[in-house]
C-alpha cells in the first residue's frame, strides 16, 4: 500500500497564497539499521519530491536518510491560474507515487 494524501483548497482567488500539505506513506528505512541477527537492512527512502503547477515546477525537495517515516511536507504557492497541481514522490526500489489535485482560480 503506497498512499499519499494531499490537502489544499480546491479554489482560490487569483494571487492568493495557498497552503499545501502532503503526507506520504513510507517507512523511510535509513540503511544504517541492522536486524537482530546483524544483517544490514537495505536503505529504502523517498529521494525526491516535486510539485508542478500546470507543468511548471513550484516546489522540490530532496529527502535523506535522517527524515522520519511518513514524511509530511508543507509549503505554499501563489494561485495564478486554474488547472492542476501534480505531486510526485520518487525513491529507492522504484518507488513512485503521483497525486493530482485540481484548483480553480477566480
Amino acid at each position: 500500500m503506497a498512499r499519499a494524501v494531499v490537502t489544499m483548497p480546491a479554489q482560490a482567488k487569483r494571487g492568493e497564497i495557498v497552503e499545501i500539505k502532503t503526507l506520504a506513506q513510507h517507512p523511510m528505512e535509513t540503511g544504517f539499521r541492522r536486524t537482530q541477527t546483524g544483517e544490514l537492512i537495505p536503505r529504502d527512502i523517498i529521494r525526491r519530491f516535486t510539485c508542478t503547477y500546470n507543468g511548471v515546477e513550484v516546489y522540490r525537495a530532496d529527502l535523506h536518510p535522517a527524515i522520519a517515516a511518513n514524511p509530511l511536507i508543507s509549503f505554499t504557492t501563489v494561485a495564478s491560474e486554474s488547472g492542476a497541481l501534480t505531486f510526485q514522490w520518487t525513491g529507492d526500489n522504484s518507488y513512485t507515487v503521483t497525486e493530482i489535485a485540481p484548483i480553480r482560480v477566480e
Binding site: 494524501v5 500539505k21 503526507l23 517507512p27 523511510m28 517515516a69 511518513n70 509530511l72
Partner: protein, 258 residues
C-alpha cells in the same frame, strides 16, 4: 503463626497503599495533555496526523471482499461511520461464546474467521492495525464506556491485580509509575497516567502505528519482565482494567504520542 500474621498484615498494608495511589477522577490526564505543543498539533490535524494513513487503509479494507464467504465488513455492518460509532469505547467487551473479554483486534479476527471465512490477520500486521484504527476512529471524541457486570468482573479484578503486582527483575508494578509518580520524569520522558485513550496510535518512537499490547510489551520489557504473547488473556484483562480506569475519558484514535 505470628510471622504469618505479620506477613499477611504487611501484604495488606502494601495492597492498601497501592490502592490509595489511585488517581482521583478530576486529576486524570490523557497522555495528550503531557505532550509538547508540536506533537499535539500533529494529532489534532487530520491532514498531518500520520495515523490517518492507516485509517484510510482501514476504510479500503472495510469495503474489500475477503475470504471464501466473499463478503466485505461493509456487507454486514454497512457504513462504519454509523454502525461502528462508539464500539471501540466499549472494548474489551465480554464474549459470551468464549466466556471472557476480547479486545477489538480479536473481535475483528473472529469476524474474519467466523463470518468471512478468511484466515485471521496477524497481530500488529498492517492490515489488522488499519482495520482496528478505522473502527476505533469512528468513536473519536466519545467517552470510554466500559460497563462492569458479574460476567466480566473477575477479569477486571485480574487486570487490576496485574496492574498493582510487582513483577520483573526491577520488581516494579505498573501502578508505581503510573499511579504514584505520573507527571514526574523517567530519564527525559514524562511519566503519563497510562490511559489507553488513543489506541491504535502513532508513536513517533515506533515511526508507525501500534496497538496497546505492543505498548504493554514495551513496558514489560522495560521492567525486565517477560512480556506476554499478543492476544494473551493476561493482556486482555489488563486492557480491560486500563480502559475501565479511563472510563469517561475521550477516545482519541488515532492518537500521536512521542
Amino acid at each position: 503463626m505470628s510471622l504469618r500474621f505479620l506477613s499477611a498484615a504487611l501484604a495488606c498494608l502494601v495492597c492498601t497503599s497501592a490502592r490509595a495511589g489511585e488517581i482521583p477522577p478530576d486529576q486524570r490526564r490523557s497522555g495528550y495533555e503531557l505532550m509538547s505543543r508540536e506533537t499535539r498539533a500533529i494529532q489534532d490535524d487530520d491532514t498531518t496526523n500520520p495515523g490517518m494513513l492507516w485509517v484510510l487503509d482501514g476504510e479500503a479494507l472495510w469495503n474489500r471482499k475477503a475470504g471464501t464467504a466473499d463478503r466485505a465488513c461493509a456487507a454486514c455492518h454497512g457504513d462504519a461511520r454509523t454502525s461502528m460509532k462508539g464500539v471501540a469505547a466499549r472494548y474489551p467487551a465480554f464474549d459470551a461464546a468464549l466466556g471472557r473479554p476480547v479486545n477489538l483486534e480479536q473481535r475483528i479476527n473472529f469476524c474474519r474467521t467466523g463470518r468471512q471465512k478468511a484466515p485471521p490477520l496477524a497481530f500488529e500486521s498492517r492490515e489488522l492495525l488499519a482495520l482496528t484504527a478505522y473502527v476505533a476512529r469512528q468513536s473519536r471524541d466519545l467517552p470510554i464506556n466500559i460497563a462492569i457486570d458479574a460476567r466480566n468482573k473477575p477479569f477486571l479484578d485480574a487486570g487490576s491485580e496485574a496492574f498493582h503486582r510487582r513483577q520483573g527483575q526491577l520488581n516494579l508494578a505498573c501502578s508505581q509509575c503510573h499511579d504514584d509518580n505520573w507527571g514526574k520524569r523517567l530519564a527525559g520522558s514524562l511519566i503519563p497516567q497510562a490511559h489507553p485513550t488513543g489506541y491504535p496510535l502513532y508513536r513517533l518512537e515506533w515511526q508507525g502505528l501500534g496497538s496497546l499490547e505492543r505498548r504493554l510489551r514495551n513496558c514489560l520489557i522495560g521492567i525486565r519482565a517477560e512480556p506476554h504473547a499478543y492476544g494473551a488473556p493476561e493482556f486482555v484483562d489488563l486492557e480491560l482494567y486500563l480502559m475501565w480506569r479511563a472510563n469517561g475519558m475521550k477516545v482519541e484514535t488515532p492518537a500521536v504520542r512521542p
